[in-house]
Amino acid sequence: MAASSFPRRMLAASQIALLLLTGGCWSNKEIETQSLEIAVAVDVPEPAASERELQRKSPGVDRTDRITSTYQLILPSLIGDIGGSTSDETSSSPFKNMTQTGDSLLENVRQLSLRTNAAPLGHHLKVIVIGDRLARKHDLMTFLDFFFRDNDIRLSPLVLICKGKASDTLEPLYKGDIPGFQIPETVRNQYRNNKILEPIRMYNLMSRLHAKTSFLLQNVVKTKEELVYSGAAVIQGTSGRLIGFLTEKDMETVFWIKGGGRKGGLLKLDDPELGAPLDMEINSVRSRIVPSMADGRFAFRIELEAEGDLMESWSYKDAGRGGVSEAFYAEVEKKLERKLKGNADLLIQKLQKTYGADAIGLYESVRVRMPKTWSRIHADWDRHFAEADITVSVSIALKGHGATELT
């Protein structure tokens, strides 16, 4: 027994040694040789200056340009340099943008490997910005296909539309900016401003596109000094393409109709009689959508209910300026209601008449409450929506008035 235990132990020891010494990662890659793809912007084809120069010097690339994509790549090899007191311009930003034009996104990203040694890694993609012209031209499902198939790119990236050139959004505004990280962060401000849409990420974009119902995608606009979340793009369900935009004012109304108890934002009153402005901060919104059908025509009753506080008033009739009454509040409530109803009617008219697309999801109520009908008509929903009879009723209650006392 004891005699056999020594060779056995040696054997065991050698096994462990083997495990420790020869073990390793099969396909390991040094982080310095990689670059992390954090943002992608896709646009209608428009070869960059350097690409045109390449065409001149070395012609003969086999392609009919369909799409231009811009990649924001974080270069881990540069990050180390930032802390130091370098005056070098390039090392102050740890990323670079690379633009490539080609037939497909896979081709584009692989083409990058001819231009840089750092291979882009897709795991950390945070945001995909789509230029409005591309979205008008193609079904979103076509050029996003690659992202859905790729096994590195996750389903978590935020998807935005950019009215204008999407690649512009990836240009840093100030030294040290990393747009790929900052753009998707702004979505979190939802709790402060109701003009930001519920974020659409790859996972729910996929479902919506496949369901072939219309929806809204957050729009961003790049000005010289800023990148602003502004309005939304209307994506038509049947074609999967962008067919128009909603304004910021419309977005407020969308927020009301979608309801869901979300906090955030305000309702503004600009009334010559009362003096202006008068702002209600919204504390809670409830929306009830009741569908019905008669003779093949749909009708919706949208009931909006909200509570809020009067948080800013320039009115000479308000507290602090003497002479305030319950009646004043009642009047403000009534005027707010009227204003909101007006906005809602405008939005609905725009969606029904101009776009003919149910981008605010009224179909959800039909899908849930009339499943049999829905399965019969869902392919043709936008047409039914355009002909539907939609009435909006609003009830607003001002519950508070901030720290200013009523006197």
Partner: protein, 364 residues
């Protein structure tokens, strides 16, 4: 022999580990594909009840032959030829399960975890380690299983809770909007998730208290059902029935749909996959144990030989399906075969055995 006997809890855990592996990663898609409505969680519940009944039947049958497995008592019940034929088909069934389980592991690992690593380098250690554990006998398997179950269960639960942030429960409405037919349509697919009764044909022989085998099995089904239903509800809640049918591995994609900044990891799919390999392993090991036991008892071959002789065949089965779709197709057939082998045949055998007993009594 008595030291080898297993408690009820151990049997339950063994069965949970056996059932809860690949199915949970693909179930939501397969079910919704068939049903076309979000009500598939109902079919999962119904199928669970049916599987529990099947397990109970199989246990009843095994009870009549204490300490013997189906491979041993089969011939007593239906004669040498038929008994061997049934035993062999069970062995083949388990062998194909081994192959498919190894293939699923290969597919997921080379796609999401170790891209670039050759598939043989992923699967060979898996097969060899499995064989090694099986050689240790049922006790070794049970001990490994006892370790694997709480770890995998806990982590899956945590990750499912984290993924609630991408869930919209309205995607699960309407309930029964198209009535019951879609639920029944997807029942067959749901059965795939509960292949387990066949194990009771041989595991009861190892139980300390074989009388409560049915109860142990029902407990295992209840645990699996809870995991299945919660996972399916969450996956459909995230993707809606329109999205879920577009993904090969919807449950992995669920975890790939969110990032959580500032909580140890930002991305959880690698963690859950690395952990879930243990589940693949438990299923593989138990199936390999079952088929080896069958071969050694049917053909009187040493257990060791049976284990090693099968490995090449398992590898061939594993590599036979060309695409992942083929894998799922084979799995579909297999789950039907499993239902027949584990519920249909035992039911017949049970009737036969009762009838024989009755006839014997009548004569005496």
């Amino acid at each position: 022999m008595n030291a080898d006997k297993l408690t009820n809890t151990q049997i339950s855990i063994l069965i949970v580990n056996y059932m809860l592996a690949t199915a949970i990663l693909v179930l939501p898609r397969m079910l919704v594909d068939k049903a076309g409505t979000p009500d598939v969680w109902l079919s999962l519940m119904l199928a669970g009840v049916i599987s529990a009944a099947g397990g109970w039947l199989a246990s009843r049958l095994s009870l009549s032959f204490p300490g013997e497995t189906i491979f041993q008592y089969g011939r007593k019940l239906i004669g040498k030829g038929l008994g061997a034929a049934f035993g062999t088909s069970l062995v083949l069934y388990f062998l194909v399960i081994c192959g498919l389980e190894a293939r699923s592991l290969e597919e997921i690992t080379t796609k999401y975890l170790l891209e670039g690593t050759p598939s043989w380098a992923v699967t060979l250690p898996f097969l060899w380690l499995g064989a090694y554990l099986v050689l240790g006998g049922i006790q070794a398997i049970v001990q490994a299983s006892d370790l694997i179950f709480p770890l995998t269960g806990f982590i899956l639960l945590v990750v499912l809770l984290l993924s609630l942030r991408v869930v919209e429960f309205s995607h699960l409405l309407p309930v029964l909007g198209q009535g019951l037919p879609p639920v029944l349509r997807s029942m067959k697919t749901a059965a795939f998730a509960y292949s387990g009764p066949e194990l009771m044909l041989l595991l009861v022989a190892y139980m300390k208290r074989p009388r409560s085998a049915g109860k142990a099995y029902a407990a295992a089904i209840a645990i699996c059902m809870a995991f299945y239903v919660v996972t399916t509800v969450i996956v459909i809640g995230a993707f809606s029935i329109d999205g879920v049918t577009l993904r090969t591995w919807p449950t992995i994609d669920l975890i790939r749909s969110f990032e959580i900044p500032g909580l140890i990891f930002e991305r959880y799919e690698s963690l859950i996959l690395a952990i879930w390999i243990m589940k693949f392993f438990s299923t593989f090991v138990l199936a390999l144990f079952a088929s080896s036991l069958g071969i050694s008892q049917l053909f009187r071959v040493p257990f060791r030989t049976a284990v090693f002789a099968q490995l090449p065949f398992i590898y061939i089965v594993q590599e036979l399906p060309k695409t992942i779709e083929d894998v799922f197709r084979v799995w579909d057939y297999l789950s039907m075969a499993g239902a027949a082998l584990s519920v249909g045949v035992p039911a017949l055998l049970l009737v036969l055995q009762r009838w024989k007993k009755g006839a014997a009594h009548g004569r005496v």
